[in-house]
Subunit: 296 residues, 2 copies
Amino acid sequence: MDAPSRTIRLGLIQMACSPDPNENLEKALWRIREAAARGANLVCLPELFRTQYFCRREDPDLFALAEPVPGPTTETLGRLARDLRITLVAPVFERRAPGLYHNSAALILPDGSLAGLYRKMHIPHDPLYFEKYYFAPGDAGFPVFATPAGPVAVLICWDQWFPEAARLAALAGALLILYPTAIGWHPAEKEADGLAQLDAWLTVQRAHAIANGVFVAAVNRTGREGPPGADLDFWGSSFLADPFGRILAQAPTSEEATLVVDCDPTLVEHTRRHWPFLRDRRTDAYGRLLERWIAP
Amino acid sequence: MDAPSRTIRLGLIQMACSPDPNENLEKALWRIREAAARGANLVCLPELFRTQYFCRREDPDLFALAEPVPGPTTETLGRLARDLRITLVAPVFERRAPGLYHNSAALILPDGSLAGLYRKMHIPHDPLYFEKYYFAPGDAGFPVFATPAGPVAVLICWDQWFPEAARLAALAGALLILYPTAIGWHPAEKEADGLAQLDAWLTVQRAHAIANGVFVAAVNRTGREGPPGADLDFWGSSFLADPFGRILAQAPTSEEATLVVDCDPTLVEHTRRHWPFLRDRRTDAYGRLLERWIAP
């Protein structure tokens, strides 16, 4: 029998982001310290937390916000991780090469070293979310990172709508899937569809937890960004769901919050023994999932 | 531009099943007539509706309950479909050959003909749900059936926990996925986990609707079957969710019900235009979904 993994005490930093990248980094640093003081051993920041969500418009000058990995953000957070002896998930607007940028997240271990990088695989492009302009799609699949608290996958925002990504993370051994996120209400849609959008977002991620028997957490930003009429109202609601899809903790929609909550790793196997979906997958019959469309 | 599909007026028959197969067929017949009288043009019955849920125990004599397709059940229902000019989904304990049985569902067209057969692909086997003893797994994948109301997929019960099945049905063109079902509370689990189980069941299916932009309906049985201590308390709760995951109609847990509710096919494309997941699937990166496990 394997030794059980340690309990993950997960810290989720829901924050509002200002136009000043240094201010956002400062806020992230003190909120991480706050989470660590409450015992968190794995802390996750929201997608692109150094900046406001610049993808609201397409502007070549905004590529100047990108930075390499390793780079200033991961080095600063690496020092903090080492000070606090915790694992950090640090989303970065990554400059991989001149003219080649990714929406990424670095995994930083308690010794301050970089365990690896996830580069967002599914890239949205919709009104006020013009991400295909900025980000090349990831080319390294869905890695799972060994951490002192057990194997963890990091996916990013739009990935959360794709059951394939969550499944691949679970098959690669993740006990917990983290989704750094930047999602909010479009001004033209909030009144009619706002609650249904938020509910769909929660539902699809809780379903990943259920279908795979893993913990799932989303870490969103909050606050309003952009000029009236072209603004996004980020809906917060960062949460942790257990492998049965039950929400163990959730932040409000419109306030900053630091959630600190435990993931008992024994619950993964307990849940999968009772509802043994991994036993019954029809791997012989899934070949056409690799196609775009299969209707005649 | 394609001609729009006709509105599906869907009838979902939630029923309790007696030990007498003829009584169950009689009940199904009058409930189908009831649904048709309310305008339903596509009516779905629960999984294995001719019998009580015999898989609560393993007994070779129970194979005598099986019948061929075409056979008595599909012939009777074919006549009714022709009388009423509606499409029917008829779950059958199918005897395909001596010693070869499936948990199947026949799709019957308004002219009474058999459009096709779905044979359950994912077979459970858990306390009081001993299905691997009775049913060979389906070997014909996840077909989509052309009906006068548009393309429809039929999956069965345990299939509903597998995002792969719903995805393949959607990629094959289904606008609506129907899940004839027999799921209930195990007596040892209801008090502690009953509500969470029902909620997980709803959540994972609503997520299929959301992730794929399709209508999803489940048609469950209700009532208690079996001797105390080895009984199942079927939880009803048959429902239709729209492509945004919103529940449009739902039956109670412990009463029979005939739901008749419209599916507007234009909502499929509307939803997919706003949240274009099919555009962004990473079909180049999903190859390892065909493996059982990929952790090192």
